[in-house]
Amino acid sequence: MNAVTVSDLTKYYGDHLALDHISFAVGEGELFAFLGENGAGKSTAIHILSTILKKSGGQVKIFDMELGKQDDGIRAALGIVFQKSVLDDKLTVKDNLYTRAAYYGLSRKQADDRLEPFMKSFELSEIWNCRYGKLSGGQRRRVDIVRALLHDPRLLFLDEPTTGLDPKSRRLVWDYIHRLRREKKMTIFLTTHYMEETRDADRVVILDKGKIIAEGTPGELKSRYASSRLLWYAEKSEERENLLSPYEHTYDSDHYTVKFQDAITEFLYENRRQITDYEILKGSMDDVFLNLTGRELENQ
């Protein structure tokens, strides 16, 4: 069973088409990534899937529950970490989490049982009685993730969960996400504009101006839309220029950069006597996005 099945989903804001007939599916237990620039339609899609926003057209099913008809069941099955913090600054972490647990009908005792495993793994004990508004960005994100997991959801939406965080906090958040996948086998639906965050995804959908422009595993996308690069450390010479002439290449200070779509191993083998100092750079998701849209992603 798919966790999410979306067919022909459309969303208009007045005359503006925010989502243009998009279709995709997310398998249960997958880490699925929606990649795109700000304004590409990622948050709009998440808000529709989580019953917050009304769709203009198309069909959506979450665990076989139809959006618009079985919204209560859908709401109980999903958790969301929003792009911006939505907990109360003036309340303590404890009060924020207990009140949110009650939204799902959990008693204090049930909430305690659910929170117990998070106290250590998410280091909640030390900030338990602190006001949410006084926490650092990374600490807030930890609490946001715990809040989204309180009712043991089957599907977790993460809407740009690391935006605005320092590198250390970003790494911590990703450690938590990976742990969730490992320990809970939870389906995770991620939106991001950070290329490297899609690296570990099972599948990536690239969204541009409301349209899906590519879909596949990170490896497939790189193979299809990005070229690997050979960095050959050697002095510039006519002989080397001739050797590289069939390939797109440049020379910078002490090395050639040569682009390869494929056959890089064969080339290296054939020229192993000449090419002794080199490194191979795999095509990145950055290259994928650049090749697909002609633009680089913001905030890279």
């Binding site: 209560d72 939505v86 309340l91 009140t99 949110r100 647990a101 009650a102 799902y104 009908g105």
Partner: protein, 306 residues
């Protein structure tokens, strides 16, 4: 129901954790008290004494303590009436802040139904108003009892608490509709400033409503808050008016206390009709119920994002 109570508790915590907001929610009551201490008490006492002087013999029969108690209780009703306006409104600004900050998105994505969300905001604001106004009423009654001027029977005290509950509910029901139309907390704050200034006049805390033209009286009495304040006047001042009547010993056939009741609006004047206590109670109840029904239908429409 646990999700409803959870959201109600959260709304209460958000309101009461902001100590400054709690103090400023009593802004009009503080203004009424300040004006009273500065000049209103003197003005009212002088006006009543003038009436007493004009009626032969009454000045000697009705004590200045009773006149003072009458004016004090008049102020007390005004403070309670204004608290029942400003406290629920201030608590309901949580709804506007939640929409501004996106907290409502979080609520919308949970199994809490839209109507439960609206009722949770309502319940929290009404409870805050009952609690704050109830505390003021208790403190005032204790002070009067300490001074030995609590001329109220137990049934009247119970009725005063009942009116506090009714007044808090009716004001909350009305303001819940009002706040649904605010998009930003700054706009809501600006409205609160206007409301704080206007509330004292609408409920007749600064100037008795009877001093206004018929149209203005009707405009003031459309709002349940003015009915509630009038009900409180009837309950809280009933005892001291009885004492004055007894002191006069039938000399003026109750004309003095009747004129006080007329001047200080013990009945609500609405569209050429004078509503008595029972009619005012019915008006406030129907008004509150109608507002609650409107909100339950209106709230889901205003939180739908198209």
């Amino acid at each position: 129901m646990r999700n409803f109570w959870g959201l109600t508790k959260r709304n209460l915590l958000v309101f009461f954790e902001d100590k400054q907001a709690v103090v400023f929610s009593l802004l009009t009551s503080i203004i009424v008290l300040a004006l009273y201490l500065l000049f209103l008490k003197g003005t009212f006492v002088d006006a009543i004494n003038e009436v007493l002087d004009s009626a032969s013999g009454l000045r000697e029969l009705i004590s200045q303590e009773d006149v003072g108690a009458y004016v004090n209780l008049l102020l007390f009703a005004g403070i309670l009436g204004s608290a029942m306006v400003t406290v629920p409104f201030h608590c309901l600004t949580t709804l506007v802040k939640d929409r501004e900050k996106g907290v409502d998105l979080d609520i919308c994505a949970t199994p809490v139904r839209r109507w439960q969300t609206a009722l949770a905001y309502f319940a929290a604001a009404a409870f805050s108003a009952v609690l704050m106004t109830g505390l003021i009423l208790t403190a005032g009654l204790c002070l009067l009892a300490f001074q030995g001027r609590l001329y109220l029977e137990a049934s009247a005290i119970a009725a005063a608490y009942g009116v506090v509950v009714l007044g808090s509910i009716s004001a909350t029901a009305l303001f819940l509709i009002v706040v649904l139309f605010f998009r930003t907390s700054s706009a809501c704050g600006a409205f609160f400033g206007i409301l704080s200034a206007a509330a004292g006049f609408v409920i007749g805390a600064y100037i008795p409503i009877s001093q206004f033209s018929e149209g203005v009286q009707t405009a003031c009495n459309v709002f349940p808050a003015s009915h509630v304040t009038i009900l409180l006047r009837n309950i809280l001042l009933g005892g001291v008016l009885d004492r004055m009547d007894q002191a006069a010993g039938g000399l003026d056939n109750g004309r003095f206390t009747a004129s006080l009741k007329e001047t200080f609006s013990f009945k609500a004047h609405l569209f050429s009709c004078d509503l008595d206590v029972t009619e005012m109670l019915c008006y406030v109840l129907v008004f509150a119920l109608a507002c609650i029904v409107v909100t339950i239908f209106l709230y889901p429409k205003t939180c739908e994002r198209k």
